[in-house]
Each structure stands twice: as structure tokens, then as C-alpha cells.
Symmetry: none
Subunit: 125 residues, 4 copies
């Protein structure tokens, strides 16, 4: 269900949080659907419960999840909203880098080639 890569430089809690956010974004987790409990998920992944707790806290901070005392953690927004939020993040990350690349001599054509997949551009069959 969830994949942890210890070699990945990122901390575990971040990997867990990212996985859930990705699932929420793609619609695999509907709004108000409940996440696995901290203890249960910790056992499944053989991870310290503190780490799961922190991952859920991270998701709450990002606005992806809300927690109800004594009940559990739940997805807070629909996938469309989350998708837009993530797209805005990506936009700033890309524009910042595009700006730097432009200052280093990259021109329109080069930048466009970076964001448009090579080969087949239409269809996605």
C-alpha cells in the first residue's frame, strides 16, 4: 500500500506524508475518508509510531488532513482543490528555476524543450 525507501535521503515522515498527499491528489482517497490509525500503520510499516504521528502532523499543516480527537485522521479536501494547490507549488518551483536558467543563458526554445516531453506530444495513448 505504502512504500518507504530508506536509501532516499528524505526523512521517513516526509515520505509517508508525500505518499498520502499523492493518493489524495489522484483521487484514491476521497474527502472525509479515514486514514489508518497511527498505531496500525506503524505496525504495518515496521516504523516508530512517533514517525507516523509526525507525518500526519505534516499533512495537517499542509491542509491535506484534519484530525478529530478520539476518532482519527481524515482527508480534508477534494482532489481538485489539492491538485490546484500542488500545481501552484510546482509553478513557483519551476518559474524560479526558469528565471535562473534564463540568467545563465537559456533561451525560450531550450526552456520549452525542458517542459515538453520529447517524442510524442499528443495523445498519451
Amino acid at each position: 500500500m505504502l512504500h518507504i525507501d530508506y536509501r532516499d535521503g528524505r526523512p521517513i515522515y516526509e515520505q509517508v506524508a508525500d505518499s498520502f498527499e499523492r493518493m489524495a491528489i489522484c483521487g484514491a482517497l476521497a474527502p472525509d475518508s479515514q486514514l489508518p490509525s497511527v498505531r496500525q500503520l506503524a505496525m504495518e510499516l515496521s516504523i516508530n509510531p512517533n514517525t507516523i504521528q509526525r507525518a500526519y502532523g505534516e499533512l495537517e499543516k499542509r491542509g491535506v488532513v484534519y484530525s478529530v480527537k478520539g476518532k482519527g485522521n481524515f482527508i480534508s479536501a477534494d482532489c481538485v482543490t489539492l491538485r490546484e494547490r500542488r500545481l501552484q507549488e510546482l509553478e513557483t518551483e519551476i518559474t524560479v528555476r526558469a528565471k535562473e536558467a534564463r540568467e545563465l543563458g537559456a533561451d525560450d526554445q531550450m526552456l520549452i524543450s525542458w517542459v515538453i516531453p520529447t517524442g510524442i506530444k499528443e495523445g498519451k495513448p
Copy 2:
């Protein structure tokens, strides 16, 4: 001359190294020009010499400077080479994010608008 931000999450040695790399890339530091000595820069920035040492070590690992015992640290490569190296980094960073954005529904037009500083902006103003 050099600015350190303690609130910046990045470690100090990395900030120092990045600053020098940026200066070398933009041509502000010519090849074979000498960098400030470890001790002197440490005093100017009120930083431990060990931290500067590490920053210079990082730059050497990146191929931006070379060090001569008893003489000092010097810029190793010309700005053109360094610029190409940095552009390749930016390319991968951008393509990875563009790929994710595309999976989230971004189309060519949207991605292109992110990398091209258009004077005309639709909506948002």
C-alpha cells in the same frame, strides 16, 4: 560581500559554498583568482574556520575550486563550464517537476507560460 542567513534551513557551509559558486558562474570570480583565506573569511563572517574549511572542501568536490597547501584556494574552472554544469542541474530539476505537473493536468500552454516571462498575464492581476 557575502551574506549568511541563520534562519535559512540550509547549513552555513552550504550557503557559503553556494555563494562562491554563484559568483564564479556569473564571472565575478575569474579562474585562478584566489579566494579569501579560511581564517580571514571566518573572522569576517564571525564563523568558525572549520565551517569555512568545509565550505571550501564542498567547492573542491564540486570542481569549482582547487586548493594548494600553504598558498590558498583558487577558482578552478571558467564561468562557461560552470554555467553549463548548473544549467544541466536546472534542466533535470525542471523536467522532473514538469512531468509531475503534466500528470496533474497541466498542459503544454500552461507549462510554457511558467517558463516564459510573459508581460501579459491572464487573470490574477
Copy 3:
């Protein structure tokens, strides 16, 4: 388990790193197996933890280990990969020296006798 020679010209952190790399190459350390913790190894060898830290950093730079915050350091690559890497290093070291020896008058036969452990030795016994 690990041997440090203070008279050896090489820095301690390099000796430590080399020892672990050699063990990983010969298969004594399997991929994903955990290395001793920085503090523990420092105590065993009566060495400053900082030096061990640096040795592990060196190994990470070489691609021999990966580190996980709060967990420890682990072997990253299999012995076959590491072996090939080391063989390439040895190839360049040998070819460089063979070239110089050739310029000094060594012929094919002499060079071959150096790299092949012949039971029969002419003269010298």
C-alpha cells in the same frame, strides 16, 4: 575488527573509510547491512566521533554507503559493483606506471612478468 595505524601517512578518516570499502568489496559487508554507529565506533577505536563522521561522509561520497538520519549508516552497493569500480582505478594506476616503465626501457616481457605471478624467477633467488 578494524585497524588504525597512526604512523601511516594517510589521515585516520581515510584509513577507516578504506577499511570499510575493502570489506564491502570482498563481500564481508552485504548491501543494506548496518555499519557501527558513529559514537560506538569512535569509542571502540578511541577516536573522536567527528573523525568517524568524516569517514562515513567519505564513504557516502564514494557511493559505498548511504545514511539515514536517526537510523544509522548502511552499505549501499553490492560487492560486484564496488569491485568493478576498484578494478577501474587499479587499471588506470597500472597503465600510467606501465607507460612510464616502457619509456624507461621496459619491454613487453618484463612488464608481463610483473603482473603475472610466475613461480619461476630468473636470477635474484
Copy 4:
């Protein structure tokens, strides 16, 4: 006459010593011929006299040069003797590495290909 490369990791005094040894080996410097004075060479190369002094000391330690107080430094042996000495050094350096390579799986054919130049093997036109 003599070439110093500051980017070369090796210390200056070693580079100077190596250059003279190479010249003595190839016969460019005859036995008992005088080397340039410490001060003069230091000026020519824009190097600290201490460094030249150390280079000459290194050469004396290697048995390539002998010094006469108040007179100067002189080549000690003929090129044939020096050549043999250097060849013995290269032999040990190569055999040690060949032994390690063999332990890592290199076979005769591989090792021979390392010490015999690719392409044309006869003639040296």
C-alpha cells in the same frame, strides 16, 4: 625549463624534485653536472627559496643528487643507474596493484592488456 602546476595536488617541492629526477634519468643532466643555485631557481620560478631547498633535500634523500657546502648541488649517478632504480620502484608499485586486481577477479589477459599499449605494439616510429 621547469614546469610547475599549482592545480596539481602534489606539493611544489615534490614537483620540482620529480622534474629534476626525470631529467637526470633521461640523460638530460649528466653525472656531476651542477644544478641551478637555490636562490637563482627560486627567482626564475617565482617560488620561495625554502621550497627549492626542500626539493634538493628530497633529491639527496632519493640518491639523485649530492650537495657540497659552499659549492652547490650536483647530479650523483649516471642515468643508467637511476633508470634501474626507478624501474624497481615501478615494478613494486605495479606488482602490488596487480596482486590486488587479481584478488578482485582480474585474469592474466586483462592484466596484460593493461600493461601493453593498445593498437600498435611494435616499432615506436
